[in-house]
Symmetry: C2
Subunit: 358 residues, 2 copies
């Protein structure tokens, strides 16, 4: 997957716009190199993304594809990541129409849109391309116990749940490294990260036997690009549905350090499960030693900082108090790198890795 020139995007979230489900949409709007020019979602038509994300995000929401086409887009991007990764059937008509109108369709769904005969035909009609970002390369390799390049520092974001900001924290830390004049690299391991960065592998889509091997060579590629390598984590180590992918990342990347991400206020694991079952989020003080023990089964690693997502705490003073309390409780440097900038958190990671064996 090679970098493309910037595009003008219609982001499709029809009926599912919220800061949780639309994490693909928001990640691309916040960090991507493409211009997000319009959001297609009739449930919030007439409003603007800036109502949720602030004045830096002037993206109007419209109700129909015809209205979106007035913004002269090049491509339509599927802005949600549903459980199981299937296409909501009610979106099919819109996607067919977009392809016929000549828009490329960019998708991170598990179901490959390019393999769908109706969509493929529509793409041919419109002279458009379908890009399935979750399609993984044919490079099927098991892990070989590769050592890190001397001088590199590999940092993996781990978390108390999925969809709480592990990609964002990795991107923010990379930004801080670059701002500090260091060579920072972001290693994308999920569809949104790949959409943002233009390379990477959706590791949850890889055949299970090759997850660790894939993480190993992704880190190798990252280390070829710079010294400070921030790997986007996936899932959580105690997630009933996704923990195996998380472990594949921990054991495949063998990070020098981990940054533990948590969303303040989160109490239950996020996934479609049968009624009656309850999967509570574990305390950070439990998750820290759990991650270090599990990583250490293959290669020693430490949790060196906590990244809190304080999005649901409107009051800034209250957010700062929670950060300070978490610091006291865990004994680790803690911050919200989106709300308060990543510099402080990055410097803590950097200090923790100074003089560490590499």
């Amino acid at each position: 997957m090679r970098p493309q020139p910037p595009r003008r995007l219609v982001i499709l979230t029809e009926g599912q716009w919220d800061v949780h489900h639309a994490k693909t949409a928001i990640g691309v709007m916040r960090y991507g190199r493409d211009a997000s020019v319009v959001l297609l979602d009739s449930s919030i038509a007439g409003r603007n993304v800036s109502d949720w994300l602030g004045p830096g995000f002037d993206v109007p929401a419209v109700a129909t594809l015809d209205e979106a086409l007035a913004f002269r887009p090049d491509a339509l991007l599927i802005g949600i990541a549903p459980t199981g990764g299937r296409l909501p059937e009610e979106w099919r008509e819109t996607i067919v129409a977009a392809l016929r109108a000549g828009l490329d369709v960019l998708s991170g769904l598990h179901t490959f849109l390019g393999d769908d005969p109706e969509l493929a035909a529509a793409a041919r009609e419109g002279g458009a391309a379908i890009v399935d970002y979750r399609r993984v390369p044919d490079r099927l390799e098991t892990a070989v116990g590769r050592q890190h390049r001397p001088g590199s520092r590999v940092i993996l974001t781990v978390g108390s749940d999925c969809a709480i900001g592990k990609m964002t924290v990795a991107l923010e830390l990379r930004r801080a490294a670059l701002e500090a004049g260091l060579s920072g690299v972001f290693v994308p391991t999920g569809q949104t990260g790949i959409m943002i960065e233009g390379w990477g592998v959706s590791v949850d889509r890889v055949i299970a036997d090759f997850v660790q091997g894939t993480c190993e060579w992704l880190v190798e590629q990252g280390e070829a690009m710079g010294d400070w390598v921030f790997v986007e984590g996936q899932g959580s180590i105690d997630h009933p549905a996704y923990s195996s992918v998380t472990l594949g990342l921990i054991h495949g990347c063998t990070p020098h350090a981990m940054v533990l991400v948590h969303r303040v206020g989160l109490t239950e694991h996020d996934f479609d499960h049968l009624p009656g079952a309850s999967f509570p989020i574990k305390p950070l003080t439990e998750l820290i030693p759990v991650h270090e023990m599990i990583a250490g089964l293959v290669a020693p690693s430490r949790v060196v900082a906590i990244a809190l997502n304080t999005r649901e705490v409107p009051d800034e003073v209250e957010a700062l108090r929670i950060i300070r309390d978490t610091e006291a409780e865990t004994g680790l440097p803690t911050d919200d790198p989106v709300r308060f900038g990543p510099t402080r958190l990055f410097e803590a990671v950097r200090a923790a890795l100074e003089g560490a064996p590499r």
Copy 2:
């Protein structure tokens, strides 16, 4: 995958016959419903499998396919499971000839032989079928937090490494359950188990996101067949290349109990890795709490017994002494269910689960 009438098998291990690499061959000869009539391996031609496995295994080894055909086989079974699961290229000619001679070819390799144009053409010529046991079903589901059927007991075999006998221990325990008049079920999760039992899924071949979901519905199918459900484990929780598959089984099956399998004398993890790296096998006293802690991240479980593979201890008295010492060291019932029969180990598992919450 539905049960077939028993077949007469040529087992192909060409140049790789040993009790370690030929684990597929040996598993099928020991436990399968098909008759293994001849072994095709020029490196041991003229000898007999009974030289290694004992008098119950009268399978002559021959050097050429022509000699093997004299035994009137119906099918040729690929008897090894190489790292990465690729076909040794030097076997291609033999497989083509077997297909042209009308033999079905049964394979558990990652590389699907049925997708190979030359092999597919040879199959058409000979009117033969290619069966790729590792091909997984299209049922792509993430885990949903399913609870066990009341009255069932789910036991997962876990281990200190791969290829040390986790499938065998599960099969032996199932046999003991049946002999005790209970409804015992074996849940195959790897190609050899599937070849033996005629159903199951090669979970290491499943897309990573669906490993836990697949384990969940495999256990559901097992519980529909009987009360005592023995799930074949894969890899090991500290394996640099395969631990994520192991974790997917633990968190996807949510077993009531685990039986920890270890091969006496094993000191290093078994996989193709770069020179210089060392991945020592951990002590059982460390692995027991590690497994219980990691399982407990999703659902509580206990290691209730140790199954030792004492194959490399020729002296029986010495093997018994090691078993007794392991029992003292771990505080858990310990036995070699292949060498000394599975009854004692099964009764220990049964006793541990009596009165346990289900």
